[in-house]
Symmetry: C2
Subunit: 459 residues, 2 copies
């Protein structure tokens, strides 16, 4: 979307004071596109341009600027301009803006807000980042159940410019408790004289300020909502979360899960990859790499324990990568499939026996496949002269294919039940990341391998 | 949400013909919740209950039933009832329904639709599953630019019940070409006498029927849209995709990427995990498990090539799991981070030198950490008596830690550049799944390991 060619043109329009053209640029485009162009100008220029439109449009465009650009611009504005800008921002964007300020600047900016808004910013920034409260907007529209449709539409026309959405309008009682909602669609279709109380839906889906934000996104997703109302501990309506917030939550959750699955620790970075210093990348990755490396040293100790077996039959080493690969891949696959089904609520931890049964069948077929391949490889292509005199090629082929079969069975079942147990114990099942799982599967696999060799071949 | 206690109560209400109570149950709840309850009744009962509400509500609830339940119910309805039901369904839900019918049933049901609807179903089901066309709804609202606001609101009141959304209304010219859009919000805020042409936004974001559906979801996400219009090759408006569809696309994409990353092939199953037969699970997993197993056999050949080195210094085997783990994990991590940044458009393939520079720093720190740990482990805890007389513990510790350092450098850089190359070659970078990457990293790692040992120790 970025088109740097426009920057000189914008500058020219600004110098020639072609306000009408500039204004139509600001009003016709989507605020996000406009903001992307503006970001390439310097802060004075940005302000000169966005001053041309009304305060709501101005603060909307402002919210779409890069956070860095927002802060730089805010720092250069007069108190009066900044105060008006902050007051007309939607509350969730404003909370986000304050989240990114250092404490001193935040305190200075807070003083520019009227007491009511100031209290709101302090309250909203105090919610934990994982909760609905931290994301909600307080710019929602409410009506009284005794209002008529006609009066409601008048109220909407009056207050709409400052509201995040007017497509869902919430109905509250005198104490501010949520008692229903009405969509703008329903309102348009109803007769002017009807009472809101008679046309509203009383069964309202809602979430609480301290509910997990992922649960909120899930509700919006499942019920195809445009917005979900958020209530406090006293059931009072205090905010809304909209469909676009839900998408952002889902995307963030996706990155988080992916990073967990690839053993990258810490929260999701807000900055782009190249903007994050190398040492920060290192810190996020080092923890698991070191932990998993230490576990791999334990697997090494298992090998060391069987060193006599290995010394007399060095061929066993040649098939360690295959054993490792088959175990790691089948284990990760079953873990991924089960994890996904748990996340989509298709499975519950109580389904463990059904899962084991299913995975036993799957791993039976998989191990048959792999076992046959490796048996053929060992039996046909091995050089019997490199074996001790009392050991036949056939028996070695049996040992290796049998171990592989057992390894695949073990890995598949282990991969499937670990996420179930994690869920049952109320852990986030994704913490049992694929690399951690693979490490344990490998440890088990090596033990199976050498034990089978020792028993069958007696070495 | 499921609450089976209600089923007997519903049955009782039905037997006692308490139509008013049943109707309020159907009208007050969210269609999804209502559908979940109804699914537990038999088809006759479901129909008796949903017949109580008007045809639009009825078909909305119908669309939320399980696909199996929808088909069973449809098969038992009279032609007249089914025809009315299909005609009042929203077009995207209807397309989805026809997608799930066998050819014979689909043809039979098609005959129940008027010629115009029939042509539409045939056209919509013909779009490839990955395109915008296959998902779009044709139940959108259009206006003419010469209509006044007052007339438009009258039109909306008339046509709203059959439309998917009335919050965005599209403006078309006499040939049906998309020339602008107006939000219901804007309409409510405008004066009754204003012309649509004067209040509409002319800069409309849109997609084409054959655009990839993931791109459509990305537009809705980036611009916080409620709906995106879809045009055909002649720029004529032919459908819309709504915010809830975008969430579904994002979720499906997420599952797909995750499965690719875990080497599970084939498309995403629509059925739940337990409902998919074991053999289908097997087929989706076998391909990559076998391919990767074969690659691992090649790694085994590399080990075999160095078998003399190994035989004289069996200690090298003990650290193979550590080398394997460090390479696999650091490689997967850098691949994951780069993949994610590519998907979020933070990185372009042209940034390759910047990425290499960043990853060189990260892997430098990582290899320092791991190298130090393994040097200490080998130097302090090894038993020199098991070594050949001409080889010191110190030199073995140097070989192992040096190999590990090189392995981490190689794995990190390889993991980072492979997704960049894949993107540059217009492959989906996620096909370079983590297990495939790990396999190559391991192959390289083993070669590095034994080559270093051979050169430094001369064994």
């Amino acid at each position: 979307m970025k088109n740097p060619i426009l920057v000189p043109e914008l500058r020219e329009l600004l110098q020639k004071k072609k306000k009408r053209v500039l204004r139509s640029f600001l009003e016709d485009g989507h605020s996000k596109e406009v903001a992307e162009f503006l970001c390439m100008l310097n802060t004075d220029e940005i302000w000169d341009i966005i001053s041309l439109v009304d305060k709501y449009r101005r603060s909307e465009i402002f919210s779409y600027l890069d956070m860095e650009c927002q802060i730089n611009l805010a720092l250069e504005l007069s108190n009066k301009d900044l105060s008006e800008l902050l007051m007309s921002m939607s509350s969730d964007e404003r909370t986000n803006f304050f989240h990114h300020l250092d404490r001193e600047t935040a305190n200075r900016f807070l003083l520019l807000l009227p007491i009511h808004d100031r209290a709101e910013v302090i309250k909203l920034t105090s919610y934990s980042e994982e909760t609905a409260g931290s994301l909600m907007s307080t710019n929602y529209m409410t009506l009284n159940e005794n209002d008529t449709v006609e009066k409601s539409i008048k109220l909407i026309r009056k207050f709409a410019p400052s509201k995040e959405t007017i497509y869902y309008i919430y109905v509250t009682d005198d104490e501010g408790k949520l008692i229903g909602f009405v969509s703008l669609r329903k309102l348009i279709l109803s007769k002017p004289g009807q009472k809101i109380g008679n046309i509203m839906k009383k069964e309202v889906l809602f979430a609480r300020v301290d509910d997990d934000k992922e649960m909120v996104a899930r509700l919006i997703e499942d019920y195809d909502l445009i917005a979900l109302p958020i209530v406090d501990a006293n059931e009072k309506l205090v905010g809304i979360i909209t469909h676009d917030d839900a998408i952002d939550i889902i995307r963030e959750e996706e990155t988080e899960d992916l990073e967990k699955l690839m053993a990258i620790s810490g929260g999701v970075e807000e900055k782009a990859y190249l903007d994050v210093p190398a040492f920060v990348h290192f810190k996020k990755r080092a923890f698991w790499v070191v932990i998993l490396g230490l576990f791999a040293l334990v697997t090494g100790l298992v090998i060391q324990h069987f060193k006599d077996t290995l010394q007399s039959l060095i061929i066993l080493t040649f098939y360690m990568p295959m054993l490792n690969s088959a175990g790691g891949n089948t284990g990760s696959q079953s873990a991924t499939v089960v994890l996904r089904s748990l996340a989509l609520k298709e499975l519950l931890p109580g389904d463990i026996l059904k899962v084991i049964k299913k995975e036993l069948f799957v791993s039976f077929f998989l191990s048959l496949c792999l076992g046959a391949i490796i048996f053929a490889r060992v039996y046909i292509f091995s050089n019997p002269e490199s074996f001790p005199p009392n050991i036949s090629v056939f028996s070695v082929a049996v040992v290796i294919s049998l171990s592989l079969t057992l390894q695949v069975l073990w890995a598949t079942i282990f991969g499937a039940i670990v996420p179930l147990f994690a869920t049952w114990l109320k852990f986030d099942p994704a913490v049992v990341s694929s690399p951690l799982l693979t490490t344990f599967v490998d440890m088990g696999g090596i033990t199976i391998y050498f034990t089978v060799a020792k028993i069958v071949l007696g070495v």
